[in-house]
Amino acid sequence: MMSIWINEHSKVLVQGITGSQGTFHATIMIEYGTDIVGGVTPGKGGLLLDMAEKSVSVYDSMFEAIQATDADASVIYVPPPFAAEAIMEAADAFDQIKGEGVIVCITEGIPTLDMVKAVAYVNQRPGIKLIGPNCPGIITPGKDGGCKIGIMPGHIHKKGRIGIVSKSGTLTYEAVAQTMSIGEGQSTCIGIGGDPVNGTGFIDCLAGFQADLQTEAIVMIGEIGGTAEEDAAAWAAENVTKPIVGFVAGATAPPGKRMGHAGAIISGGKGTAAEKFAAFELAGIHIAKDPSEIGAVLAAALKEAGLL
């Protein structure tokens, strides 16, 4: 297995392709090299869009679109009031037609209870993987281009052996730049998003990287709120043999205040950066206290593991 969940050749649909965000990012994804095989906007089925010298078909429903294109993944640029429905439509269609599929939801601002429902719906369909919402997406850089599903800047990436998973968007880019600063590329980078209720979590990604032949080390970026970082660290201690470098944002965040992401809030004294760093330490994760140090810490970890 090379890279996780998606590979350079994954076929991707864009839900909400005729919206401004959808059109903009579909074009950029195609330019990067992503195989965008179609888009979905109900009521606009049959339309042909010209994007980056490619002609992209629009379908009325995900069911129709997957049947016509045999897509492997879908990315959602749909406004918050309709995004949870879009996730469930994609989950239902992938499940019915293929029994599997990757759904990436970029949308920010989906009501939490909508996500409680959508995540339960996805989890009842074990072949379906949901990334996000409120995340930059997932990218598997190729030798030439690659598969970028989301909004991250493609040009900063390079194919390589480091897997990256992060709750934050821009911090992921920071982590990518740090791997590049020591001459390392990425196998797959996943932004899982910072919402309180979301799809794929750290553990799913760590398990994927552990099993992936291309990945040799992992960078994991958390932030305050919840206990996902602690749980992942405990799991990694038991299950991950590859070196992991970890950073947690929000050491200076005051309690009770939401720091941008709906999930980034220290409540009841729980979910602090200090607790998360301590859990990382306990699990043998290599800690960077400053994101600008990730490169150096990673290089040291690779050396220690005999990989450099």
Binding site: P111, K117, E174, G194, A249, T252, A264
Partner: protein, 392 residues
Amino acid sequence: MFRKAGVNVLEGVHCTSIEDALSAYDSLGSKVVAVKSQIHAGGRGKGTLYSPESGEKVMVGGVKIAFSREDVELYSRNILGNKLVTIQTGEDGKIVNNLYVEAGCAIAHEYYLAILVDREAKAVLIMASTEGGMDIEEVAKNTPEALHKVWVDPAAGLLGFQKRNLGMDLELSGAALKSFFGLLGKLYDVFVMNDCAMIEINPLVRSEDDEIIALDAKVSFDDNASFRHKEWEDIRDLGEEDDAEVRAKELGLSYVKLDGDIGCLVNGAGLAMATMDVIQLYGGEPANFLDIGGGAGEDTVNAAFEIILEDPNVKGILVNIFGGIQRCDIVANGVLASVEKMGLEVPLVIRLSGTNYKEGRAIIDASDLQTYSVDTLAEGAKKIVELIGGEQ
């Protein structure tokens, strides 16, 4: 909201003056009443009131039981216009402009009840304890076995046996159990219909005639769901929230004011937090959290500068951008325009990386702006700390 949904609550009247409070007492016809400070924060019962001018302590306890008309007058005088400091307000406390005078009831026992979303379980969680009126964080820490939990299956909703079992966990039976069963169902509906983030009822009480009554409640909402709750605009008490934070939100910015002196302007919530962290790591203190979001225009950058500079503590600014959707050249132009418009009397360090960073730097360098361009966040943090004369 609770009353409309049929949840048992006591009769009460909102008041904004001592006269209001006295006439409320007269109209309720209950000899014993509770006089409650109304602010958006918990721990009011255990809070302390201070004079906002002198800082003198006025009264201990933001919720008082009044046994006479004179008590009502005394307590409302001590509360209204004064500053209530609770464990949740922070040191600054909050000025109390509203109070609530509530009819008394014969309380047999006090319970605690909360409904919230459990992010780990990805489901609604209901927590209850027989230790009502107490600080629930204490209960959770000291006697976790006294805190009973029920998770709501998102598919099935809150089921009858869950309501019954939770009631039995609270050692309720007979009429009280039935009353609890009904109340919990209605509260859960209120939670879901209103997209709440949290409903906390402390105390929930059993009266001597075995009615279960929500005596004091704190409700917060899921901001993401505001598009389907136009009614929230009416109930939001804007005067109480930090002014700059409200204005920032309207402009599409995430802003949280902090106590330090280095203003931050960042794209992305995670990076904004990391920027604060790194400033502190190198000996400085961030003045704020500020995320301009993805794909901000010059206007947004402008607004962000305005909000940062409003804070008189700010002695320097660190701009930290890693362009993804966000183009660095747009940020650069926004910075120039802001400085031109507002003038700039504090040092400015700019780190641009990612999409169009070369163009962005070129714009900054070509201007006659007194700024320092750096390559990494760490360099930027060190530089700004150095410039404002903090430790290095």
